[in-house]
Every structure is written in C-alpha cells, then in structure tokens.
C-alpha cells in the first residue's frame, strides 16, 4: 500500500489521533461501525442528537427541510465528523443527514462518550481539541459556500455587490 493511502486513513481518524493507548482502550469499546444505504437517513432534522459519526467512506448530504422537500446545505466527506452536538446534553440535530452513496461511519453514543470524558478530563480535552478543529473546518466550508452562493446570486442580479 502506498503511503498516501495510509495518510488518508490516518486523517479519517483525526479526532482520535491525540489519544494515548490507555485512552484509546476506554474509547474504542464505545465505538461501532454503522452502514447506510444510498438515500438512507443517518438522522432527521430536529431529532434528539444521540450519536457522533466519523465518516469513513461515502459522502453525506446535510439538508434542511423546507415544507415537504429538503435543501442540501453542505456535503460531508470521509474524515469529517457529523452529529457532534450529541456531546451536548439534550441537544437536537440542526440538519438531516442523508447518505449520497453507501456510507460507513464509526459512531459513538454521545452520552457514553460524554461520561467517559467526564471520568478522564485529559482525554476529554484531547477529543474536544480535535472535534473543535473539525467543526472549524466545517464552518470554513460553510462560509465559502455562502460566499459562492452570494456571488452567484448577485451575478444574476442587476445589483452588484458593493466594493
């Protein structure tokens, strides 16, 4: 196997990359592989947020419901985490997540992961740092997408953006 494939694989598990072996032993029993068919929902908008998913393969569309149809807001790719609000007690999902292809994730029940982090705050901090980095990436991507949508709209409009 060429090193690039190894590097790509390591990138997918970035959120676990700073855990030492003892911490990994605490976290891995909480993880399970989940598989979704193309078109299947990982979760619906407004559901109780229960699981953090690391996407191992396949793309996932994050969608907002508008009446009886959905609007795709962003696409999450392998290496990204979705459902990270599961780590916040009592939170609900802000989007619905739909598999655009057969999708494999490594998922963690948010309440169990939170309990493990409460018992080992150093581990919680290491996980939180990596999750925050993933969230930052997602926000950057969303910002670029907004700029793109804005420029597309203004180029179709007689009104031009002010400089």
């Amino acid at each position: 196997m060429v090193p690039d494939e190894m590097i790509e694989f390591a990138r997918i598990y970035r959120v676990l990359s700073e855990l030492d072996p003892e911490q990994l032993k605490k976290v891995l029993p909480l993880a399970q592989e989940s598989h979704y068919r193309r078109g299947e929902l990982l979760f619906r908008e407004g559901d109780r947020s229960t699981h953090l998913h690391l996407i191992v393969s396949g793309d996932v569309s994050l969608e907002l419901m508008a009446g009886d149809h959905s609007i795709s807001v962003q696409t999450a790719h392998p290496g990204e985490a979705i459902g990270w609000s599961a780590l916040t007690p009592g939170s609900r999902t802000h989007f619905q997540a739909r598999a655009l292809a057969p999708v494999q994730t490594v998922s963690f029940a948010g309440d169990r992961l939170r309990e493990a982090c409460d018992r080992d705050p150093a581990m919680g901090y290491a996980l939180t740092k990596q999750l925050l980095a993933l969230v930052t990436d997602r926000l950057d991507a969303a910002r670029l997408q907004l700029v793109d949508a804005y420029l597309t709209r203004t180029s179709e409009s007689p009104l031009q953006p002010s400089r």
């Binding site: 190894m6 694989f9 390591a10 598990y13 990359s17 032993k25 891995l28 399970q32 494999q104």
Partner: protein, 96 residues
C-alpha cells in the same frame, strides 16, 4: 461486545505519530492502527475493531474465527449492509 475480525499484518509503516499496518482479511487488505499492539510485527495476526488492532491472536485462533464468520451469518439487514460496504466488511466475525 463489539464485533472484531481477525487479520494478518502484511506491512507496517509509521504515519505521523501513529503506527499503521496493512492488514489482510481474506482477500481484502485495509490499513489498520497498531498503536494498541506495539509488539505486533509483520506476519502476526490481530483482532480488529473499527480500524484499530485491539489484540494479538495466534494463527490457529485467527483461522478458527474466520471459519466461524462464514458459519454465523448476521441478520438480513446486516448482511445487506456488509454487501454494500464491500468485501472487507463481509468478513466481519460476528453481527452487531
């Protein structure tokens, strides 16, 4: 208990701070983290869960576990998921 599948280490590389192995599961090869089995070397058999080797096992145990995988099919839904996920996952030892 999480499902684990046995595999054989074909190659080991260090990527950043992680020790990764190329592990063979039947006719499929996947990269796997070896950080939890620091003594494992090329040719050893390991049990694997969600991309991480969790322990070393003997060749006899690995072959026995692989044989059981074929004799213990999962639910129809589970088998379909494995079918869609590709050959690597069809060699899972036990259904969830």
């Amino acid at each position: 208990m999480p499902a684990e599948l046995p595999g054989k280490i074909l190659e080991i590389q260090v990527v950043r701070n992680n020790r990764l192995g190329l592990v063979e599961f039947g006719d499929t090869r996947r990269p796997i983290f070896l950080d939890l089995v620091p003594d494992a070397k090329v040719g050893d058999y390991v049990t694997v869960h969600v991309g991480f080797a969790t322990g070393r096992i003997s060749e006899a145990e690995a072959l026995k576990d692989s044989a059981e995988a074929y004799e213990e099919p999962g639910t129809a839904e589970h088998d379909l998921q494995l079918e869609e996920a590709g050959p690597a996952m069809r060699r899972r030892v036990k259904p969830r």
